[in-house]
């Protein structure tokens, strides 16, 4: 393997100062195994021992081999391999949402469950892009985001990633409330309760159940 040490220096002229964040790190030290393009094959989150590092590298090498084999089959025209390659690359975060969307449009006969997974990834990416474009907690931008997410929901595109799922439904709730759309509000509230259950603060649930009740009574 190639050993690479990246130093975040905060020297303005040093390149790749956001590399840690790009590779999924949020603190120091952070260890990951990358492919030659810089795509993350594995993050190390175990013990800091030679044996544990070796296990992470072995896992990453297996992933690299899997991707290589899929790539070869896909290049040879194997449609199933093209689908599996895209799926795997989405799982690993190697493909941007726009690129994934373009490639998905070219795929044929995608099995239903794989289509659903790919749609989920695309939705994750869309929600992430909207979230990143929002400036703090600007109420107007939050409403606009909620409206976009309500449209995505109508089209059956709901994110699968836990964080994006939360962002998606919380902003949709805000939009639903502004539109006095009790049905959409109820759907969002139930979706969050089902997914996160006992991890949601009781007060937040009670507050929003009261809002829903008020919306229904106002009809």
């Amino acid at each position: 393997m190639v050993l690479f040490c990246h130093i975040t220096s905060q020297v303005p002229t040093d390149p790749y100062q956001n590399l840690l964040e790009e590779k999924g790190g949020n603190g120091f030290p952070f260890l990951a195994v990358l492919d030659a393009e810089g795509g993350v094959l594995a993050q190390h989150d175990g013990a800091r021992s030679a044996a544990a590092f070796e296990a992470t590298v072995t896992k990453a090498q297996a992933t690299a081999k899997e991707l290589d084999e899929l790539r070869k089959k896909a290049d040879g025209g194997d449609e199933a391999a093209k689908i599996d390659l895209l799926l795997r690359q989405c799982e690993l975060g190697h493909v941007k949402p726009d690129q994934a969307k373009a490639r998905l449009a070219e795929l044929k006969n995608v099995p239903k469950e794989k289509q659903a997974k790919l749609d989920g990834f695309l939705a994750n990416g869309e929600v992430m892009q909207v979230a990143q474009s929002m400036d703090g907690k600007d109420p107007q931008k939050m409403l606009e985001a909620g409206k976009k997410f309500a449209e995505m929901r109508k089209a059956g595109r709901v994110p699968t990633d836990e964080q994006m799922f939360q962002v998606f439904w919380i902003l949709t709730l805000g939009y639903a409330e502004s539109q006095k759309d009790a049905a959409l509000f109820e759907e969002g509230l139930n979706a969050l309760k089902t997914r996160f259950g006992p991890h949601i603060r009781k007060e937040w649930v009670e507050q929003n159940e009261a809002k829903l009740k008020a919306m229904k009574e106002a009809k």
Binding site: M1, V2, L3, F4, C5, H6, I7, T8, S9, Q10, V11, P12, D14, P15, Y16, L19, L20, K23, G25, F28, P29, F30, L31, A32, V33, L34, D35, A36, E37, G38, L41, F53, V57, A60, Q61, A64
Partner: protein, 72 residues
């Protein structure tokens, strides 16, 4: 008016100087980090482009260790 103008100039100069000395301090810290003992014990790349080029050439994966120099 002259005093205000001079004050603004001094203020701007102080800001420039402190920004310059901060940048120099960050560079010194980075250079100090690059002298770390562990970097001398094996063939570590500290250049991302060169690490990727080497991985491409050899067909190997990259073991990436992310650290910082601007703070302990």
């Amino acid at each position: 008016m002259i005093r205000a103008g001079t004050g603004a100039l001094v203020g701007a100069l102080l800001l420039t100087l402190s920004a310059t000395s901060w940048a120099q301090s960050m560079e010194e810290k980075r250079d100090h980090k690059l002298q770390s003992e562990f970097l001398k014990k094996a063939a570590w790349f500290t250049d991302y482009d060169k690490a990727r080029a080497e991985a491409k050439k050899t067909g190997k994966v990259i073991f990436a260790y992310f650290t910082r120099s601007y703070a302990p």
